[in-house]
């Protein structure tokens, strides 16, 4: 509890050692593979999914993200799962949401991290196995000053 919230120091020598190593990034290929894994053989079709994100992101640490799927959310016709993917963070997966008829509406909102300007994809799998998709292009601004 009393641990100081850590500060960051890049410019000074202490940070130098860590600069040599950096995590691998996801690639568009890795993202496509993850999306195919989610779709499970179905071919994602554009439509029915709305992905609401700002086009210009002030800070990539918390990007408001809302997914809405056009579905009656009845026992006979509903969204089973929604997944979010990106192509340039270290990992392609962002989150998966499990939904069902009890949701009433297929509406989910969260905040995500984006390390760079890139596209984000949302996939929704319906109970009939069909998969629908939407994507958003985002510009993530860089901090002007690197802080210590």
């Amino acid at each position: 509890m009393d641990l100081p919230t850590a500060s960051r120091r890049l410019v000074l020598g202490g940070g130098l050692a860590l600069l040599a190593i950096s995590p691998a990034r996801a690639t568009p290929e890795a993202m496509r593979a993850a999306m195919q894994g989610f779709a499970g053989g179905a071919e994602p079709r554009p439509g029915r999914v709305r992905l609401e994100m700002p086009t210009l992101v002030e800070n990539g640490n918390a990007v408001p993200t809302t997914v809405i799927v056009d579905s009656p959310m009845t026992a006979a016709d509903h969204v089973v799962e929604i997944a979010l993917f990106n192509e340039r963070n270290p990992l392609p997966d962002i989150a998966r949401f499990t939904l069902g008829p009890r949701c009433g509406q297929a509406w989910v909102s969260t905040r995500i991290r984006l390390g760079d300007t890139q596209s984000v994809h949302a996939l929704a799998r319906m109970n009939d196995g069909s998969v629908w998709s939407a994507s958003a292009e985002l510009i993530v601004t860089l901090p002007a000053c690197i802080e210590g």
Binding site: A17, I21, P90, R96, F97, W107, V108, I112, R113
Partner: protein
């Protein structure tokens, strides 16, 4: 200490679609943050969220390091019955934290 904010309407009509919002304190350490010693801070994130209401998991989320620190999750559900809603977060080590909220359905 970890704090959570839960927003559930106090009252709703049966069959009404209500919005639930949750905000929980957690650093969501990604595992990709380099340390001065050349390694990386070990990953420690909340990896699972569940909302249990009226005997059923009505909404769940599997989270990855790309979810922001202090995760915010909002979703909708149908008001079915008066009683307790259970919110559960599970981290990488299996630690569970739970919060409850009540709703009156008329």
């Amino acid at each position: 200490m970890s704090r959570a904010l839960i927003n559930v309407p106090a009252k709703a009509r049966k069959g009404e679609v209500i919005q639930i919002r949750t905000l929980v304190q957690h650093e969501m350490e990604t595992g990709f943050r380099p340390l001065p010693n050349g390694g990386f801070a070990p990953r420690l994130i909340l990896r699972r969220f569940e909302c249990i209401y009226d005997g059923e998991t009505v909404f769940a989320a599997d989270l990855h390091p790309a979810i922001s620190a202090n995760p915010y999750l909002a979703f909708r559900t149908v008001a079915t019955t008066s009683g307790e809603m259970l919110f559960r977060w599970i981290d990488d080590r299996g630690a569970v934290r739970e919060e409850r909220a009540t709703i009156e359905v008329t």
